[in-house]
Symmetry: C2
Subunit: 539 residues, 2 copies
């Protein structure tokens, strides 16, 4: 180091005590303002400039200044001079005739940046260097604190995101949320979510911030592209410049109408799921991949990768759970639907009846703006409305002529029989009122209990309309099907006497909108839920 | 401040440059070792002691020392002297004749701690004070960095915990994990998880680290205790000293055999769950509460509260999802069980048959160490094994005498009919092979396809044994039930000819262990899945 400054100890101590006080802050701006003033006072300088490195290597920027605004060429000239570890006094052509003291922030590392003091009347290079080195060390600590605090904030954001994703079992909602949250969390230009198809191809499911008007149907052949590598290997990949990575599947850019520069890609890997002692478990598997594309303002970091991987892991597991839940629901609906169809099919005249009544009832419910849970219960109740016929002798069910009084009494027991068969299952109870009450009529002429008006539950009234409509528009052994016009007239005639007028009008609207079809109208259409004796057996 | 030290500037600068170098570390020990050596050299002192406050207010401890081990009374004597902000030289009775320089770490806050230098040959109070103030400021920053880093680490731990909790849909596993993870995350003596009962009482479900031999059946009446408050209000509560909180339900301590000092209690609140457009949603609700008890070494912080609340939120939501999934599964099993029972009940001689065959088949599967998923498929397949009888005329099903050849040919179609009814449901296929093959026999004498030996799937062979066993141990119109001994002998005689010997032996073992009972043995037992015409209807 150069010559000793001619400063008395007492003044030096005061400066150092002030530096101690200034450095006690954890606020970057307060620290810089205080140290700049101290250094300017102490050197009787006109201006203070701090130069620090930024994202791009080798580039420095003015990150703080007092007393001067530097023209770009001045910044460049100063930066070019930050090559030594020791303080120096310079005259730089780019800055006119001004004298500049250049003081590096760190010993042995000019790249860490420097302080420049302008036009110092009393340059105190050695003590100033001491203060600038201290500033450098304090800045490093504050930057560390800021970076760790940001990490915490991002982890907190991740926990919130996981909570959001876990609060739905709707597959599409989960997928949409993954994409939008990945973008927010990582500050990227856009994100893409890919799902593995049955044939191993990888299909773009959804991209965020995609240019409008572009069709998102992009398929990456199995094993190809960066996403193919990620899905195959299960590994996370960071590519800073895709133009240098031979794996990049440039066609996807072309098809998506975007320009990919950098990519962070993680697999969507479900965890091994424990379904409880009665069901065993599901193994872990890779269901797709997630790409964060074009990090804004910097490169992808290992921390970005960890965050996105944690998001992807949890999202994949919730997707798997949603899938399993939806399968369980579907299985139940498919099973009762098939069994109801089998009972209908005992009589050739009622083939497909329960399925049609269910479709009618659901559409009436939709017309009447019932909510999703009510529609769900209505679907179950209407599928099962005739399930009590299991308990009826088939001689009566399939009798070609009119029934005797005794036979009629027996057939009228089917709503109650349905209740007896299924009524002990607590979770079915909301749906079963439709089974019990679908033969009740508003005027009390129905059965089994002869309920009147509002005593009949809404689901019972809806299924009654659907049931009557299907019966009168289908052939029966003792009569042919009514024409549509006559059938609707018949329903309207019964409206507010025996049937609920709102339900009748809802059915009429649903039919007018083409949302329901009578048995005759759908002739030739094959219903998968109808018992089909000619259907091929498995495997 | 006192008199100026008689130190030349040059020496002072060297000391300050060394201090700068030492302070560039972010490691607490390295910083302390360096600053202690610098201060001892500079003052020619024999020893260095750092006193810092610890958890309990007003208490100070030696957190670092060089050159001396202080006796407890020495520490006390020193602590008693840390009252001023300025450095002093002292002789303390508790420390013999030694001269001590006492230098507070912070201006205006003696409670922040102090450095003591022992037996300094050249005490340099003013500059040393400057260095100690710097040490104080550096320590504060390192402590801040450590605390923020710890926050990040805990958030990371929380994300891992959430992943763990989300990877099971088994209610008890979820509940056990919540408890054990809560303890790890918060560093507490133990934790307790409470669930709200139907009557509003709050039942201790599980406690971690509870003293052994204590019965965990502790019930807190609705609205009582701190947990009652939390469950009722949905708010998080921190109590530093439960003896001062009138809400504390001391009886729980008494019953649990533990001593509660501090509590952090959070509600287990499920999120509003979206089940998809077909099912609507489930509202948020409080299902219980989680208590972290007796924080080790410190008080509960707001950060602890946020972490435990995040854990509880996610755990409650996963519990809700697990509940919904299990309900969907149960609903399916209950429905097919009830419908199979209704078909059995068409013939008084086969009432309860499918249920019993299913119980037998599951126990045979267990004896043969099938896994949970295989047992599950076996349960479904055996419940449904006779479902094809829906398609059979009941005149044949209930015919009292022997069947004609034609009638027999028709009844032999029931396995195929079962396939035709349900075979189009992909998720049912694994279970349906048992339906299709339960009348096949190893020697090829069975139907419908006359499969031989290993061609018959294991589930088919198991259900065959279960089916034959129930048939021969039940009365039939044309014969009475065999005695148990004769029935087992009959099965063994058919073993390896028509039936699989391993399945027969598994059934014999299951029966010997009391895990299955024939129809005669269970007489008088009421089966909830049997069609019971006298069961009361709802509501």
């Amino acid at each position: 180091m150069g010559s000793t400054d001619a400063l008395p100890s007492q003044d030096l101590l005061v400066v150092l005590q002030k530096a101690n006080q200034i450095a006690s802050t954890t606020d970057r701006d307060t620290l810089l303002r205080g140290m700049a003033s101290l250094l300017m006072d102490f050197n009787q300088a006109a201006a203070f400039v701090l130069l620090e490195p930024r994202a791009k290597p080798g580039e420095m920027l003015v990150s703080y200044s007092q007393g001067v605004e530097l023209p770009p060429q001045g910044v460049q000239a100063l930066c070019a001079e930050i090559t030594a570890d020791s303080p120096r006094c310079l005259h730089l052509p780019g800055l006119g005739a001004r004298l500049v003291c250049l003081l590096p922030l760190a010993q042995n590392n000019p790249q860490r940046g420097a302080v420049a003091l302008f036009d110092a009347a009393q340059p105190q290079l050695v003590v100033s260097d001491l203060l600038v080195k201290r500033l450098g060390s304090e800045l490093e600590k504050l930057d560390l604190i800021a970076s760790v605090k940001q990490q915490t904030a991002r982890m907190e954001a991740l926990v919130n995101i996981i909570e959001q994703i876990s609060s739905t079992l709707d597959r599409d909602t989960i997928l949409r949320r993954i994409i939008s949250y990945a973008n927010d969390l990582l500050n990227t230009e856009f994100s893409s979510l890919f799902l593995v198809e049955k044939n191993g191809d990888i299909q773009l499911y959804l991209g965020s911030n995609m240019p409008e008007g572009k069709d998102n149907k992009i398929t990456v052949p199995s094993g190809q592209g960066i996403i193919g590598h990620v899905v195959k290997s299960g590994q996370t990949v960071i590519v800073d410049d895709v133009s240098l990575d031979h794996r990049h599947y440039a066609q996807a850019d072309h098809m998506g109408g975007v320009t990919t520069r950098s990519i962070l890609a993680v697999p969507l890997k479900t965890r091994a799921l424990d379904l409880g002692s009665k069901r065993g478990g599901v193994r872990e598997r890779i269901i797709g991949g997630l790409e964060a594309i074009n990090k804004i303002g910097s490169k992808f970091t290992q921390e970005d990768a960890r965050l996105l991987q944690a998001l992807a892991n949890q999202a994949a597991t919730i997707l798997e759970i949603a899938g399993i839940y939806n399968e369980a629901n579907e299985l139940f609906l498919n099973a009762i639907s098939a069994l109801a169809a089998a009972i209908d099919a005992k009589d050739p005249y009622t083939v497909g009846h329960s399925q049609r009544v269910s479709e009618f009832a659901v559409e009436i419910g939709r017309e009447m703006s019932l909510n999703a849970e009510e529609i769900h219960q209505l679907r179950i109740g209407s599928l099962l409305h005739d399930i009590g016929k299991i308990g009826m002798p088939d001689a009566i069910l399939t009798k070609p002529g009119l029934l005797t009084l005794q036979e009629d009494a027996q057939i009228r027991r089917h709503p109650e029989m349905g209740m007896r068969i299924l009524g002990h299952i607590p979770k079915l109870r909301p749906a079963l009122r439709a089974v019990w009450e679908h033969h009740e009529r508003l005027d009390g002429s129905g059965y089994p209990r002869g309920l009147k008006g509002e005593q009949v539950c809404l689901a019972g009234r809806i299924v009654a309309v659907a049931d009557v409509f299907d019966a009168i528009t289908s052939d029966r052994p003792y009569r042919t099907a009514m024409k549509l016009k006559d059938a609707l007239a018949e329903l309207r005639q019964q409206a507010d006497v025996r049937l609920d007028a709102r339900c009748v009008e809802a059915l009429v609207r649903a039919h007018a909108n083409g949302r329901i079809q009578t048995q005759k109208e759908r002739r030739g259409r094959v219903s998968a839920s109808t018992l089909m004796p000619s259907r091929p057996l498995f495997p």
